[in-house]
Amino acid sequence: MNIDQIKKEFPIFDNKVQNNDLVYLDSANSSQKPRIVIDRIYDFYSKEFSNVGRSVHYLAVAATNLYEQTRTSVQKYINASDKNEIVFTKGATEAINLVANTFGQKYLDEGDEVLITELEHHSNYVPWHFLRKSKKINIEFAEVNDQGEVTLEEIKKKITDRTKIICVTHLSNVTGAILPIKEIVSFAHSKGIPVLVDGCQGAPHLKLDMQDLDCDFYAISGHKMYGPTGIGVLYAKKKWLEDLPPYQGGGGMIREVKKKGISYGELPNKYEAGTMATAQVIAFNESIKFLEKIGIENIEKHERELLDYAVDLLGKNNSVNIIGNPKNKGGVISFTIEGIHPHDIATILDEDGVAIRAGHHCCQILHEKLGLPATARASFGVYNTKDDIDQLNNSINNCKKIFNLK
């Protein structure tokens, strides 16, 4: 694959950022958007706009078809067995909240346990915390090891008779650890426990096959997959979507509304109340096509090469301390520099056009465990090159110079 060619498909790189070429190393936070996605939003609003699933006029029918085409594309992309297992949400956060709310309502009682991990993003902890408050459930944490991983053995150790659901990240947004989801699911199912996977970092970077993974729920963020903001996906096995209560009430999700009672719509409408992010859903189809055109295997290979190169280069930089060393790692490198706070690193790198993130990356539990209030993080996307990594390293050396470090 030709990265220069791919990079040209992203208009953001056409312009200078503060007089520098943009070195964008913050894709774990949000990815940049290819022109086809941007254009699709413009075209839809300009030529094809209508609300979906309601009116019978020409535009409404066409828009509904486009909207449903994205559902089918996502289904195929993640190899779900049924298109009605794809629920659109405003993001992965809403997808997890949807499960926590509905599963919690129906299946969690006082003293029950939800098993999560110390690697989880706040969005896979806080929704469960609400249930700790409202239903007096307990949240257990599978611990991260010295390599920054959570192992199957650790998960097994934390499962008890009260464990009702296991919620794990596919790929840590801090250490980059890729968790053994298939093995975790297989073991959990042998105990009759469902598994929710936070796939925010998994979906843009790894080949997905829901039928093979066999997880019960998988949360996806559209804007990290070269798609628009305001769009996410909850994949859930059909049996769950049929079994669980609706999440939000409103138009579109009902079958019949009477003064004395209400019946709810069929899947997937049951979980899509109100007017959805129509243009974004339709444009998200272009993101899927973009990923398919390049091929996720090629993306994985490219990002693996970048990661190896970066780990090697930064590893040789004697002031840089890379956080975690997982055997199976995605394109995320969190690091610290002895004597320079991560926020200072991020500000100085920014001056060179190098965009990274600094802070706790919405993972305060993990940072507390690491004994670090903050880390700096470089994360990769399909458009990154080895030159970007070289520039990162050069800018780190500039930081050291400003702070008088050797």
Binding site: H341, H343, D344, T347, G359, Q364, F403, N404
Partner: protein, 154 residues
């Protein structure tokens, strides 16, 4: 933008070796502050004597060079001042960071003002203004005996 203005030698030096980074014995007032966006936190300890003068002031916490340097310089400057004078200095500093070009208080000498003005480099970095103001907001909380954790998010 100019990094040299932000990371002046005096900031780097105070950031690396913060003054008064400890806990005052028998403090009379204290407050915690944090910047929820980035996780920086400070805890200010204030000891006022019978004449309401700052007998000692110290802080604990961690953060970036700007956060630490600002707390360090602040604690150095307000020692020996009366509480109402401290309030005037805090207001003057926050006004300067927010909108004014210069400090106007007469409670500080030119040397002290020069030191504080080193922090004005953050004005060009809106995301970093909070680093410079965190300890000052927290000092205000301490003086007001506020039980709430001071926050840079209004």
């Amino acid at each position: 933008m100019n990094l040299k203005e932000l990371y002046q030698e005096i900031i780097l030096e105070h950031g690396k070796n913060p003054r008064n980074l400890r806990k005052t014995d028998n403090f009379t007032k204290d407050a915690k502050g944090n910047n929820p966006l980035c996780g920086d936190n400070v805890h200010i300890y204030l000891k006022l004597n019978d004449n309401n003068k700052v007998e000692d002031i110290s802080f604990e916490g961690n953060g970036c060079a700007i956060t630490m340097a600002s707390a360090s310089i602040m604690t150095d400057l307000v020692r020996g001042k009366e509480e109402k004078e401290v309030k005037e200095i805090v207001t003057d500093f926050l006004d300067m960071i927010k909108e004014k070009d210069e400090l106007s208080t007469e409670l500080l000498n030119e040397d002290e003002k020069t030191k504080l003005m080193c922090l004005s480099g953050v004005k060009q970095y809106p995301m970093r203004v909070k680093c410079a103001t965190l300890s000052w907001h927290t000092l205000t909380s301490a003086m007001n005996n506020s039980q709430e954790i001071a926050s840079t998010e209004d």
